[in-house]
């Protein structure tokens, strides 16, 4: 099958949606499909052979953080050329409601279009205002995928209609086979995420840390992610700062090794999550997970059966749960086991098969994707030559 995938966010900036698209594309290519990904990227960025650049993205404040988006006349022309050259059987647009390539591709294409909705924002004014503009473009989508039951609910509330739920995929084997690193083992708590983004919840963990260290002084906190390290520990008493180790940005291999090594993985995110891929990665690596009780997280953790939940933004609850887990090897072993069984449904073999089933459902008997040649006025009035 010839598959075109549209990525709305800059390829050179790491992010959940980009990783998902990369893994999906590589998974499909391994299965023998022809895949082309259209993504915003700087011209100098080295791109994998299956990615086509849609030009440079412009940083714009959107959805609570600065997103790099593509819009305008030039991008629209590139989208059209890509659609024309690709002759795809199906195109898969990610985040079609973000004012970027996704929406442009929706406008420009006709034929079988699959769309995945990743975010689950509360209903915003901008969304309501944009509804009449979005609706004609979204009507072209033949199949909608939501990454979680929560994302589906938001979608139904905001845009009407329905979607099938297919979770984001994880290469479970890669995480399960990683080698633990001795220096990261022994009473360690792991945190992975942007340090300076409050939504990722590091400040909550920092507030909980004094209580955890008071109960279990040997505990170490390992933090992997970009951001200002000094600012992050500023709220901690001087003596406790050495118990926090910053690893900076880590490679995928080190991330897997870190998750294999820690005794507890903590995800104190305070909101803005629609899925929680990191929790699945942690469970794949066999790390007991302790996460805030966001809707999306609760769902990934099977409502608390595959990992522990604490009240979001409640540092005391986090500290209490972390101390209990660190002191209870049996409970941790139980969580490891349940997590390992639970993550099988997120493995690419399952998720990829589901996504392919969606492609096959919409391409059954349908013509292939083409650029939507807007019917000219002459044609509308029956004057155009055939």
């Amino acid at each position: 099958m010839k598959i075109g995938i549209v990525c709305p966010y800059s390829w050179d900036v790491p992010g959940g949606v980009q990783f998902h698209i990369r893994d999906l594309a590589e998974h499909l290519i391994r299965l023998g499909h022809q895949v082309s990904v259209l993504a915003p990227a700087d011209d100098e960025t080295p791109l994998p052979p299956y990615v086509v650049s849609a030009g440079r993205a412009v940083p714009v404040p959107y959805n609570g953080s600065v997103a790099r988006l593509n819009f305008g006349f030039l991008s629209a022309a590139r989208v059209r050329r890509w659609l024309h050259d690709g002759t795809f059987d199906v195109i898969h647009i990610h985040e079609p409601t973000s004012p970027s390539l996704g929406l442009l591709a929706c406008w420009a294409a006709q034929g079988p279009i699959v769309a995945t909705f990743h975010t689950s924002n509360p209903r915003s004014r901008a969304m309501i205002a944009a509804y009449p503009i979005l609706q004609p473009a979204l009507e072209k989508i033949s199949a909608r995928i939501a990454v979680s039951e929560y994302a589906r609910r938001t979608l139904v509330e905001h845009l009407g209609g329905d979607a099938v739920v297919i979770p984001n995929g994880v290469d479970v084997g890669f995480f399960a086979a990683a080698e633990p690193k001795a220096e990261w083992q022994g009473g360690t708590i792991g945190f992975i995420g942007r340090i300076d983004e409050p939504r990722k919840g590091l400040p909550v963990l920092m507030r909980a840390l004094p209580a955890i260290l008071a109960a279990r002084p040997d505990t170490r906190l390992l933090v992997a992610g970009r951001g200002d390290e000094e600012e992050a520990v500023a709220s901690l008493p001087e003596a406790m700062r050495e118990r926090v180790e910053f690893l900076g940005m880590v490679s995928d291999e080190d991330k897997a090794r870190l998750l294999r090594s820690v005794d507890v993985y903590v995800a104190p995110n305070t909101g803005g999550e629609s899925f929680g891929i990191i929790l699945v990665e942690a469970m794949s690596a066999g790390a007991p997970v302790l996460a805030s009780d966001l809707d999306a997280f609760a769902q990934v953790l099977d409502l608390g059966a595959a990992g522990e939940l604490f009240a979001s933004e409640d540092a005391d609850a986090l500290a209490e749960a972390a101390i209990r887990l660190l002191g209870d090897p049996e409970r941790r072993a139980e969580l490891r086991e349940r997590g390992a069984a639970h993550v099988r449904r997120f493995d690419w073999s399952t998720v990829g098969a589901d996504i392919l089933a969606v492609y096959e459902t919409v391409t059954d008997g349908a013509a292939s994707v083409a650029a939507d040649e807007r019917t000219g006025l002459r044609a509308r009035f029956g004057l155009a030559r055939e």
């Binding site: 009507e139 033949s142 009407g160 099938v164 739920v165 589901d354 089933a357 969606v358 349908a366 019917t375």
Partner: protein, 181 residues
């Protein structure tokens, strides 16, 4: 005077273009419904055929075979207005037979059973997908058709008012093997 006429002419042309564009939108939605309906039909038929094949292959006990055969046969032969009920009954029959993992395991052990089971699992999983996509298209078309501009100018022409396909498509737990939602 001339100026007013020009403005009126401009307004009429603008409204005309808008209506023409809306008619195009509606037309595309109807095409999408047709494609989604064809896909749904194909998936339902596929599910019934796989079920029938399994029922006549002798891998199941006679009682289960008869139940499945009856339900699959009824679903395939159903008239349009009884189709939703017949397909729902096939779902119920499949759930009754494949309600337990042991039954699925038993089928898998028989030569050729592995393939039959995975074909059936794929079929029961795709029916809800196709139905959801169909009903989503129907909803979008209905929303547009209820709009004043479409009703007043009869932009939908003679196309029948689209109807959702309502049925019970819950797959058997033992075959689905993961949360289906």
């Amino acid at each position: 005077m001339i100026e007013t006429l020009i403005w009126i002419a401009v307004a009429v042309v603008a409204i005309g273009m808008y209506l023409s564009w809306t008619a195009g939108r509606l037309d595309r939605l109807h095409t999408r419904i047709d494609a989604a309906r064809a896909a749904l039909d194909a998936q339902l038929l596929r599910r019934a055929s796989v079920t029938q094949e399994l029922a006549t292959s002798g891998v199941l006990d006679p009682a289960a075979s008869i139940v499945l055969y009856e339900a699959a046969h009824a679903a395939r032969q159903a008239e349009e207005e009884h189709r939703e009920v017949a397909e729902s009954e096939l779902s119920a029959a499949l759930r009754a037979v494949f309600g337990e993992t042991a039954q699925v395991e038993a089928v898998k052990e028989i030569p050729g059973g592995e393939e039959a089971a995975s074909e059936l699992a794929a079929a029961v999983r795709r029916v809800p997908m196709a139905r959801r996509f169909h009903n989503d298209a129907v909803r979008a078309a209905r929303a547009l058709r209820r709009h004043r501009k479409v009703r007043w100018f009869r932009l939908a022409g003679h196309a029948p008012f689209p109807l959702a396909f309502e049925m019970d498509d819950e797959p058997p737990v033992a075959l689905a093997d993961r949360p289906v939602s």
